[in-house]
Symmetry: C2
């Protein structure tokens, strides 16, 4: 999945260049490229599909030059994850009736790729032989309030039955979750086989499965694009978590620990990054900091920031926009972007 | 005089483009152009000389297209104002033995040009008939600690004898100066005739007058440039205030009130500029400010600043450098520039 617009990372992330396409850590690889890199040992590249917005197709083909145009599925509208996944699954159904599927977002960070590959291989073995929906659960390391949690039933197995999915908890609850040892972070990485997930769509999201089944003859043909254009925008906006995972009875979680972060916000990027003696994080640019602590500073590469007397701020500049905002107010960035959109007619978004 | 490097306005002012060449207020005219504009009704343009660094000659000829190259006198080294003025005066001596001279810097702001012209005309009349050194004294409007002061002897005349020149006072003293009514701000705008100033150079700064007199035959010829190259760097570094004005007995001041500011710092620019309801000043760029007061925000034109939770800061960005600094720490900007010079070998200065 590579259709997000990443507005929480504005102004670094922009409409024409959302965060999955950015080289966040200056390694020379974008988050999307890193996602593909870590999938390659598990899945032949010709079996990878990327679902995205039409605007990003060229950028994807540029970043992943050995993918064919046909592997990039374009959504005509944003309809959350369930229609996005249904589109890819319907495309696979036109090719084969037997497949194991990994669903992953293209904008997460995973530090230990070997462990990722070990866990995913193990998960694929499990779903290939069982009629289950498997999600990977990250072992929590802190009472994070920015993630969803998965509660599991203790069992003498690596694969644990899911009791509940819980949305982002408040600080107090997150502390309880962490201490209980019964909760894992929901990373949104799913494994299942083709039959199981399609049955689940039919059962829990017939408004989505139905239209795809009625057009099944067109999927995988030259008519696919026109068919998707005609029906996609009328699909309900619903997440795969809410639409299927929270309702199905055959949901399992495989605990994992491979240094995952959803890299959702400047704050999570700050937490992940190397800090100087005063706990400042400097990305891409040069920075001279005086009497300044706990900041994340990210200007375009080659630029210099000279900062005096700031504590706990985001200072981010990209492509004509400078953002200065307290780290603990970062949830308001979306609102700032919306306001700027109104004022400047989308010029800075 | 247009040779300054304006480091207190870094990063807006840069080595390759000091503040006198910048369009500070977005009016379409640089400070230098505004200086020339206000002099034009008083002095034919062919009688104007600009003393500057060789690096800025082309920029000057571009900004003032009706000046000839010969009117731009280039200092091979920075030697403060006395050698700079002596150079121009020696150049004039090669052309004529009778002239009235206005000396002014190219980076001050004057709001009331008509009053400026009235005062300067009156001053020129006075110096053309008297063997005096005249300076313009600005009526102080606040206890400014950033300016030098001139104390005068009360008299029943517009032209007052100068008692003392005082360097930048502390806050307490500035308050006393303001209340006494006997002090004016030293704007560094001087009027005198050719004979009087050259006699003063001979008397008080023979180390400067001497070398110019020995080369007098070369001044105004094709040999002038080589002659200046050979001798200028060995002249003593001294200001006209310290070298002559504080020592001569025939120094007069003409009080004036034409909306002058030396525009020396971000703080003075802030004080001068229009403010929004929260007392923020925004220059050149767009800005959306949230919970922010008393800031001066100056990004390059066409850019957007989104700022949350800042009080009393300078936020200035230009040509690859972002400065964020408390307004009341702005005297440290020079030190920041020096540090950046050391670290990056002059790349950002």
């Amino acid at each position: 999945m590579a259709g997000g617009i990443g507005s929480r990372f504005w102004p670094y992330s922009r409409n024409h260049r959302p965060k999955q396409f950015l080289d966040f850590f200056g390694t020379g690889r974008s988050l999307l490229q890193m996602t593909i890199d870590r999938i390659r040992p598990l899945v032949p590249i010709e079996n990878v599909l990327i679902v995205t917005n039409i605007d990003y197709r060229d950028l994807i083909l540029e970043q992943i030059p050995d993918m064919r145009k046909e592997q990039v599925l374009c959504e005509p509208a944003r309809r959350n994850t369930a229609p996005c996944i249904a589109y890819a699954v319907a495309h696979i159904r036109a090719i084969t009736d037997k497949a194991n599927i990994i669903v992953a977002s293209s904008d997460a960070l995973i530090l230990n790729e070997t462990e990722f590959q070990r866990i995913v291989s193990k998960g694929l073995d499990f779903v290939s032989e069982n009629d289950v929906l498997l999600t990977l659960g990250m072992k929590p390391t802190r009472p994070e309030t920015g993630y969803g949690y998965i509660q599991f039933e203790a069992a003498d197995s690596d694969f644990l039955r899911v009791k509940t999915f819980t949305e982002k908890p408040n600080a107090e609850l997150a502390e309880v979750f962490l201490k209980s040892g019964e909760f894992l972070w929901n990373a949104g990485i799913f494994l299942w086989n083709l039959q199981t997930i399609w049955s689940s769509f039919r059962e829990f999201l017939p408004d989505i499965a139905g239209p795809f089944e009625r057009g099944a003859a067109k999927m995988g043909t030259t008519e696919e694009e026109a068919f998707i254009q005609s029906m996609f925008a009328s699909l309900p906006k619903v997440s795969i978590d809410y639409g299927i995972m929270e309702k199905a009875q055959n949901v399992y979680v495989l605990p994992a620990d491979f240094g995952w972060s959803d890299l959702g916000t400047w704050g999570s990027l700050y937490d992940l990054s190397d800090k100087d003696k005063e706990d400042n994080v400097v990305l891409h640019c040069e920075a001279n900091l005086y009497e300044s602590q706990n900041n994340v500073v990210a200007l375009e590469s080659g630029k210099l920031a000279v900062i005096q007397g700031l504590d706990g701020y985001i200072v981010a500049e990209s492509d004509g926009v400078l953002l200065i905002c307290k780290k603990n107010e970062e949830q308001r960035i979306r609102q700032f972007v919306e306001r700027a959109d109104e004022l400047y007619n989308g010029r800075f978004s």
